[in-house]
Assembly symmetry: C2
Homo-oligomer: 394 residues x 2
């Protein structure tokens, strides 16, 4: 039923924009191997929800793993329902003829462990208590995600990834894959990422966490049982995050100093369009995302530092990799600025790894990686199209 | 008594650092002229608390007005008590031999209307209700501050300011003085400021406001009556503000990714030094500052746009000024970047006004204006020392 709908949607792709993967449906993978996490705790079993786009070829050589960022999930492309207003979060880059061309690649997109969109996470049933895990869900790291994604890879009988790709926190997973599982990654695409957070990055995360943790409706993370959620705290966290995803220039272009009602009202109600926009974004997000997951994701970001176990030498860490790299950054990204991408590129060069680097000039800041910026998507597509699917490393 | 202590402190300045103004005490000015504010409301009378440093000369030509920023107040230099740990907020720039040399100038530093350090503001008695104003204190603007400072100027019988000086929001007051009261300002020193907030600046203010307004202890601004205060909301606002006052580079230098206890603990407690620092700063600030005043100050920032009434032409607005300008910015300031200062300089040049501009290369971000950065303070001092006190415009 879903499949025939998907075909219908695909056939009528002119109504939803060219290059849509059409209707898709999530799949579930239950892993019965226990996973011991970096924090020392073990989950006896867990479930991952994922989507796939395109067809796995006979040689099983065309699989691409897409890793999501802080607020992402498995639904990266296409639509779940005919009447869905928005496609998956990376529809700008995944689909027939797009950067990750589903006519060519078999794309796997997974909701990370600890997530709130179907994979085992804080909202899931804790077998020890009979209640949702809530704040007792263990802290997960980028390495834990790579390990759980590896189990899915085995389940799907994929011998190696043609590419592992991701932006922001997704790009960090790409680096960890290349370092931890060198033979399994034939290409690594790291977009708008950093080799570790700066003090400023951590500082923003801490303000976001404090907003959530101090919201009375957070109830020490046990809000599910009280049939509530920390709406204000999570809204604040998202508003703050959102400012860091856009650029000063981009916000100026989009909102300037436009007033919502045309004139100053001399009070603390929403007056400027940018306030209105941020409040809307914050509230919408607080309804659709889980606060405990948000906390976990920010800690995964804070802790990511693959160079640490290599004497803080990023080149030594990346010298583990056997893959070719594409590294992309955006000029107006101040969350993970081009300088942070150049650190990765310089480490790769020092490690004598093959790397293509481009800095894309556009005003949309960190969020650029999600958007169809022509210079970005065409460069990304050219790289992906050059990947050799005949089994060689590239 | 205070005066003899002040002399003692001044004499023993070697223990407190050279160039201290020593012990100082606040003074009070009650203005019985009603003030009609830009919002349309009128205060029948009000009080301003201020300090002065140095001596007014016989010609009354050496008075300098210091304007404070968001969280500032009248106590800009020296000490209130012998055992006070920290001097006034601009002690780096005010004192004998310093940029604003109190051997030469008579410095007036005032707590703005709406403040929480002694001037009439939300904590003050509202004659209409018999209770503190709280959220009913009218919204004040930069122009309102200039108007109230003008009353103090008349009270002190100062015919014109040798200079009006300020950083950040203080620099905005300097511009407004130069535009609104041209003959009364002989020099204008605008440091780390902007001609108006950008959408990103407003966005940060909005998140700060939302944190305060949504704190249950804010109680719609009537927290005084409930013997509480919005500790969490104001802490969050300050933490966020603090991130924007520092630079990414400066935070990296100061904190890097240092862990407070040396090892990761895999939880949401404070782990990194930068988190610890921010939490400390936020909580300390929430105890010493008033949330209703914080809200007012952020709105004064948002609304500031002196070009608006001149067809959004900043050069036309600044062509009202008759004064010489010194404009200073700091390379790592991303709250009000050098680009924002250059907008002011370009408008001044277009208005054929005399302006000296310098961009100071230092890592401390927006907060640089408060710090003894030698290239900054020596340039500032050189400009101030060249001011003619014989009654000519400069």
């Amino acid at each position: 039923m879903q499949t025939s709908q998907a075909k219908a949607r695909s056939a009528s792709s002119s109504t939803t924009g060219l290059g849509s993967v059409g209707l898709v449906q999530p799949q579930h993978f239950r892993c019965d191997h226990p996973i011991t996490l970096q924090c020392g705790k073990t989950l006896p079993h867990y479930e991952l929800v994922y989507e796939t786009y395109g067809q796995l070829n006979a040689a099983r050589s065309n699989a691409v793993l897409v890793c999501h960022a802080l607020s992402g999930h498995h639904h990266a492309a296409g639509y779940h329902r005919e009447d869905e207003r928005k496609p998956g979060w990376w529809d700008a880059c995944i689909g027939p003829g797009k950067a990750i061309d589903t006519n060519r690649f078999f794309v796997v997109s997974v909701n990370n462990l600890g997530g709130c969109h179907g994979s085992t996470g804080p909202k899931s049933h804790n077998p020890d208590t009979g209640k949702p895990y809530g704040p007792d869900f263990p802290i997960v790291t980028v390495r834990d995600w790579v390990n759980s994604q590896y189990q899915l890879m085995q389940h799907l009988e994929i011998p190696s990834w043609a590419a592992v790709v991701g932006g922001s926190l997704g790009g960090m997973q790409v680096m960890q894959w290349a370092i931890d599982r060198p033979p399994l990654v034939r290409n690594a695409v790291v977009i708008a990422a950093a080799a570790k957070l700066s003090a400023q990055n951590i500082a923003f995360n801490e303000v976001a966490r404090k907003a959530i943790l101090s919201d009375p409706d957070f109830r020490d993370g046990h809000y599910y049982e009280h049939d509530t959620y920390p709406k204000v705290g999570l809204s604040l966290a998202r508003m703050l995050g959102h400012i860091t995803y856009l650029s000063d220039a981009g916000m100026r272009e989009k909102f300037g100093r436009e007033l919502r009602d045309g004139a100053i009202s001399f009070d603390f109600d929403v007056e400027f369009q940018v306030e209105s926009y941020l409040n809307y974004q914050g509230e919408a997000f607080s309804r659709s995302f889980d606060a405990n997951t948000y906390l976990l994701m920010t800690r995964a970001l804070d802790y990511f530092d693959p160079a640490e176990e290599y004497d803080h030498d990023l080149a030594r860490a990346l010298s583990q990799a056997q893959t070719r790299f594409l590294v992309l950054s955006f000029t107006t990204d101040w969350r993970f600025s081009p300088e942070r991408s150049r650190e990765i590129v310089e480490a790769l060069l020092a490690a004598r790894r093959q790397v293509t680097y481009a800095e894309i000039d556009c005003p949309q800041g960190h969020d650029s990686f999600l958007i169809n910026v022509p210079r970005y998507t065409s460069l990304f597509r050219a790289y992906m199209n050059a990947i050799d699917l005949d089994g060689g490393p590239h």
